[in-house]
């Protein structure tokens, strides 16, 4: 049994007086896909930002392949190269083309030379099916395309785990499919992922475990079947009901989009 990729131990985080995370713990093994979901304000995004130490927690520890990254004196920049992140609002670098967006991390942080970096970047963009748009600026791409570039940017760094912060929440409905498809492919090829999302169809398809976060604590956790067949707590039941009304059933979301849309 190998060391879990990520181990989160008793995480506490507050902003000013507001306690956002109150003692969250979980583990993530190799090739696992964990889906974290819950009502807004429950601290899901904060949790992800704690994991890659963009906003360090007040209390608690995080271990990346056994290395305690909450330790003082750890080179966070190096650590972050092993944690990929995909943002809700894409956060692509507006002044760079797609290919440069993906390669800049490789060049400036990992120190690769231009050709090597561009080759790897092209590979990543290919994996997300954006090979035809490598020379486009973010503003020339649709939301779904931008997010796929964002995923490629994280992929290119060959991280140990990729963190997805509500990757499809800011997308128009018809564009969600293409991004989910890419994420499904990644999951199926064994990428270790933590995904914060409302897309329960995705969760049902590939999640190894689902975690329901409510008001800063883990309220319930289990396999997707557990949640969809017999969730225990009332809060979870209510939430799932609301989502079903809003998003429809999950089967439709899993249909692959037309090839023409690419």
């Amino acid at each position: 049994m190998s060391e879990p990729v990520i181990r989160v131990v008793d995480l506490w985080k507050s902003y000013e007086d507001l306690e956002v995370l109150k003692g969250v713990s979980f583990e993530l093994a190799e090739r696992e896909v964990k889906v974290i979901f819950g009502p807004s304000g429950s601290g899901k995004s904060t949790l992800l930002r704690c994991i890659n130490m963009l906003s360090p927690p007040e209390k608690g520890d995080i271990f990346l392949r056994g290395q305690k990254i909450t330790e003082q004196g750890v080179n966070l920049n190096k650590v972050r190269t092993r944690l990929g992140m995909v943002f809700q609002h894409f956060n692509l670098f507006a002044h760079l083309r797609a290919i440069d967006n993906v390669s800049i991390g490789l060049r400036r942080v990992k120190g690769m030379n231009k050709d090597e970096a561009q080759a790897k970047a092209f590979e990543a963009l290919n994996r997300v099916r954006m090979a035809q748009w490598v020379d486009h600026y973010p503003a020339q791409l649709s939301g779904g395309q931008q997010q796929r570039v964002g995923i490629a940017r994280a992929l290119a760094m060959e991280p140990d785990v990729i963190l997805f912060d509500e990757p499809t929440s800011a997308l128009d409905p018809e564009l969600i499919g293409e991004v989910l498809q890419v994420m499904l492919d990644l999951a199926k090829t064994g990428t270790t992922m933590i995904v914060v999302t409302h897309e329960l169809g995705f969760a049902k398809a590939v999640a190894s475990e689902m975690i329901f976060l409510g008001e800063g604590t883990i309220i319930e956790r289990g396999s997707p079947q557990h949640f969809f067949v017999s969730p225990k707590s009332e809060i979870v039941k209510k939430f799932l009901k609301q989502l079903e009304v809003l998003y429809g059933t999950h089967e439709e979301l899993l249909k692959p989009p037309d090839k023409e849309n690419y």
């Binding site: 190096k78 650590v79 507006a94 002044h95 991390g105």
Partner: protein
């Protein structure tokens, strides 16, 4: 006529062209206004245009004899023009009221304002036309050439140095305010407030006469130059610091998060992500600053430096009677120096930025 305000040679032609233009413009204004008021749209063009045409024709016809009469009486030019305007306003008002009675009485103010605006416009047009005619007769080219050759070097020098000093100061202050701590922020803020609040003339005098001991290391002859460069630079620094600060802050902070998530350090993120975008975002405002500095360089004239304004001043002293013309040409020269720059680097750049999706947080 109205153009006789200015000491130009071609008053009559100018005046006539002026009056015709005023006639056309007046017609269009009244026609537009009448169209606004009508609620049914049949024959609007006909009726309104006819009405407007008549109104302005009456106006034009009454104008000419008035001028001629006053001319014969040799009354002061200015007085003539003023009385002319008064009569115009009066007539215009009466005509509109008589023709449209109750409906338009509420817009008496409107008519008066329009006539006043027309008067001012005719002044401006009169000058423009006389300048254009002056260029046709070739005299104006001499003036322009003189002013440019004598004054341009120093104007450009002052502008360049002022902008340069302002740039260095501006960037440092902006960085201090955005990334420095609270104390540096206060320092930067205080500097901005002070150097934006002191009139540039006062600043120049402080340096030139008050602090001349500061310039012990400079040849005394150059003190005026040094003091104005310093004044321009310090002032520009205050404004440029605002420009750069705004630009830095308007780079989407989410991109910084993304950069750090990739593993970039703070300074790397600044160098590769914030700075390239901030510089592009700053261009429109910076082109505006260029325009401001080059206009402020005209204050150098008070301490005797021969830049464009002083050159125009000297010329008009040498050739008495060309005041209006030389200042007019001076204004045009400044305009040619500023407008293209602000147009290209201002609006076009803003449009390009919008296309690239930058400049929105």
């Amino acid at each position: 006529m109205i153009a006789m305000f200015f000491q130009t040679n071609l008053d009559i032609i100018t005046g006539i062209v002026n009056q015709l233009l005023m006639f056309l413009i007046g017609t269009y204004i009244l026609r537009w206004y009448i169209k606004e008021k009508k609620t049914h749209y049949t024959n609007v063009w006909d009726t309104s245009f006819k009405t407007a045409f008549i109104v302005n024709l009456i106006w034009l016809i009454i104008n000419i004899p008035v001028i001629i009469i006053f001319d014969f009486l040799f009354i002061e030019d200015t007085l003539v023009a003023l009385i002319n305007t008064g009569i115009n306003i009066l007539i215009g008002t009466i005509v509109v009221i008589v023709l449209y009675k109750r409906e338009f009485r509420e817009s008496l103010l409107f008519v008066v304002v329009i006539q006043l605006a027309l008067f001012i416009t005719s002044l401006v047009l009169g000058l423009l036309i006389s300048i254009i005619i002056g260029f046709i007769i070739d005299k104006n080219y001499e003036i322009a050439y003189f002013i440019l050759s004598v004054g341009l070097p120093f104007t450009l020098l002052l502008t360049a140095l002022g902008l340069l000093i302002g740039f260095m100061l501006g960037i440092s202050l902006a960085l201090m305010r955005v990334y420095g701590g609270i104390e540096l922020g206060w320092l930067s803020n205080g500097y901005e407030k002070i150097f934006r609040g002191i009139p540039i003339l006062v600043l120049i005098y402080i340096f030139a006469f008050g602090l001349s001991d500061l310039f012990w290391f400079i040849d005394p002859v150059q003190i005026p130059l040094a003091s104005i460069v310093l004044a321009l630079g310090l002032r520009s620094g205050a404004y440029q610091s605002q420009i750069f600060r705004g630009a830095i802050l308007s780079v989407n902070p989410g991109q910084i998060d993304a950069a750090r998530a990739l593993g970039m350090s703070g300074s790397q993120a600044f160098r590769h992500i914030t700075f390239p975008q901030a510089i592009r975002l700053a261009v429109p405002s910076w082109s505006n600053e260029y325009s401001v500095v080059i206009k402020d360089s005209s204050f150098a004239y008070v301490i005797g430096i021969v830049e464009l304004t002083k050159a125009a001043y000297d010329y008009s002293y040498a050739f008495r009677g060309t005041w209006a013309l030389s200042i007019g040409i001076l204004a045009i020269l400044y305009f040619l120096l500023t407008f293209p720059v602000t147009k290209i680097f201002g609006e076009r750049q803003t449009r390009k930025l919008k296309e690239l999706g930058m400049g929105g947080s």
